[in-house]
């Protein structure tokens, strides 16, 4: 019986090696594991950090101010005294870190290049080698349209789409979802940092942190019916994704309150903010509220009135998923302004 076989010599050696590695890292700073159900951790903290001067006199964001805002937000999220400490808690030298951006909206409404550069700078300061960092989305051409430069050379931060490496052959499934995963996730990533954009979505209601994981699977088109519910939650439950996700940094420098996910200038606004959390459900809940406030300000109906309530957020919080909390009483919202 295969299941009852005794450990082979190879298994034994492998286990010993794993144990040795475990001992070797035991005295290093403890890295955070993938986000655990917040029910066991108390409140989920969400930081909104805003800098009205982010753009100075121009239209583009100032890279230095973005870095400063990121540091400020991360220190508030982790109660850290210096800007590097939060990153040291999340990653270890030698790990491969993938920064999943969102570039569907082209230059107008994609993850900001300066923000991603700031993240990469801090990751390197925490000991991650440049070549072990990959900035990615589903398609290299989309990355370029959003302003990123595709890079695959040695000793530099990598940047390319899944189109360069493809998807795993095997299906993974959870609940209603069965998909192939990007090889960037499965083969080039120990730690996943999610950097979505704050935006309205014509089908899902909103597209923020949870929905950005659609860019990891090969068949997102299959999971848009019914307002993407329960598909978004199910995709985020895939162990290969969940076990790697450490942090969500929502780019709300330019956001979208209507007509998303593509960029339509008349529906975009400059929020000049970052929304950061380790709990994607809490982040999406706060992001959704932010979009609703802007919609009200613009005289638009609520998403519920348009039958576009992002129900998948509640599903992600339910007992079957426990990806985070959507209960305002259990979300600690920290609003802060960068200098």
């Amino acid at each position: 019986m295969r299941n009852e076989r005794t450990a082979s010599r190879r298994d034994f050696l492998r286990n010993c090696l794993a144990g040795a590695v475990g001992l070797a890292v035991a005295d290093q700073p403890v890295a955070l594991d993938a986000a655990e159900p917040v029910t066991s951790l108390g409140k989920s903290r969400v930081v909104i950090a805003q800098d009205a001067q982010m753009r100075g006199a121009g239209t583009g964001v100032d890279g230095g101010r973005v870095l400063s805002l990121l540091d400020h937000a991360m220190q508030r999220l982790f109660n850290a005294r210096d800007p590097i400490q939060p990153w040291i808690r999340m990653v270890r030298p030698g790990q491969m870190v993938a920064v999943k951006v969102n570039t569907l909206g082209g230059r107008g409404l994609s993850t900001n290049v300066q923000l991603v550069e700031a993240i990469c700078e801090r990751l390197q300061a925490a000991g991650i080698r440049a070549q072990d960092i990959v900035i990615w989305d589903r398609d290299s051409a989309e990355l370029e349209r959003a302003g990123f430069r595709v890079r695959t050379g040695a000793s530099q931060v990598q940047c390319f789409g899944t189109d360069r490496v493809g998807f795993e052959e095997d299906l993974v499934s959870y609940g209603s979802v069965g998909s192939r995963l990007s090889k960037i996730l499965t083969q080039r990533c120990d730690v996943l940092i999610n950097v979505p954009v704050l935006k309205d979505h014509d089908g899902a209601g909103v597209s923020i942190a949870l929905k950005n994981m659609y860019g990891v699977i090969h068949n997102p088109n299959k999971y848009h019916p019914n307002g993407c519910d329960p598909y978004v939650a199910d995709v985020n439950m895939l162990p290969e994704i969940r076990s790697r996700l450490r942090l969500h940094i929502c780019d709300a420098t330019t956001a979208c309150f209507e007509g998303g996910p593509a960029f339509k200038p008349q529906f975009a606004w400059q929020q000049n903010a970052l929304i950061i959390s380790q709990d994607p459900v809490a982040l999406d809940t706060i992001g959704w509220q932010t979009i609703e406030r802007k919609r009200a300000e613009k005289g638009l109906k609520t998403l519920a009135a348009e039958d576009r309530t992002p129900r998948y957020i509640a599903t992600a919080a339910d007992a079957d998923h426990q990806l985070g909390t959507n209960d305002p009483r259990r979300i600690e919202l920290v609003e802060t302004r960068g200098s």
């Binding site: 569907l104 909206g105 082209g106 189109d163 360069r164 490496v165 493809g166 998807f167 052959e169 299906l171 499934s173 069965g178 192939r180 014509d202 089908g203 090969h218 068949n219 088109n221 299959k222 848009h224 019916p225 007509g259 998303g260 996910p261 593509a262 339509k264």
Partner: protein, 407 residues
Amino acid sequence: MQSDYSLPHTEEPRVPISAVKRDPAFSALDRRSFLMCAMSAGAAGSIHQLARPLKAMPVWNNEQKQDDAQFTVEAQFYQKLPNKKVKCKLCPRECAVGDRERGYCGVRENRNGTYYSLVHSRVCAAHVDPIEKKPLFHYLPGTMAFSLATAGCNVNCKFCQNWNISQARPEQAPAQYVPPKRVAELAVQYRCPTIAYTYSEPVVFSEFLMDAADAGHEAGIRSIVVSNGYMQEEALRAAYGKMDAVKIDLKSFSESYYRNVVTGQLKPVLDSIVTLRKLDKWTEIVYLVVPTLNDSDVEFRGLARWVKQNVGADVPLHFTQFHPDYLLKNLPITPIPTLERARDIALAEGLHYVYIGNVPGHPAENTYCPQCRRMLVERVGLEIRQMLIHKGECPFCKHTIPGVWHV
């Protein structure tokens, strides 16, 4: 997605172009000649051996980066909406698609308010198959069909055997540019009297299908389609109106099954079958019997009664055996007695031509005269052993046997 056939005579793929290209046996043939068709001489036996390589090939080979523009044509069936949105009118799903997004099928994209098909002439699988593999049993038996597919499907059957291509986006399935005229030339070259649109879901490549059918007809080649029939009537009339024969995969006779296992709806499929008969298209129906999910007597009886009442007792009905695949690996192969029970019920309800599929050598693969009960066509797997029908009649009792029997 159709192709519910399993081994041995599966309507599963499909020799992907690159896979065949690697086979030294075909190295003498040039790339543009669609080498994989070369096994026409080898017929069914070799086809099965060749139908496997898809899983062995890389999903994405960077060297095969395709020029998107050559496969992109404006879609025919859609409606423009405000704010650069579109509503697809191809299938009952009626996807409302925002700018830069794709429909459920994954092969149609909204670009700045115009909807495009990304799969015109984008052939990701092609093969020369016996027509019995579709299966069409009453249409040109014993002939070969030049069979092709593009990526994409407008449903997501949990049992799909061709999910590698049906559930893929076009850029994820290596393909070659094969324009309609070339399709017709290849069918002629490999002595196929028909072009078959199959493997994935032809609904989603309707524009290509229509153009290829026109090119085929100009070259004297007929067109047949293997489809789920999940299509709006206008599109169905326009696209399948160009077909000479149609095989519809009727996945179940219950809406709940369609909703939960297929991700579609039953009613539009039934409507399509009726419309096809009104269009006087030769139509056969396949019903994949999945253990515990769609194998009740009630469902079999309801199906048989519906067929008899709505399209007539002479429409062939095939009950085929399920094999575990894709997202339904937890169920067993359909027991043969279940298939026999389904057939018995359908015959008792008055249907004349009820077959069992995917069980090579089973006597219910044969065609029998509904009047004198004599065997008229003997089949073993995909092979015709005897063909006794003459001028569309039973040679024993002269009963008319419906179908298209000769080229």
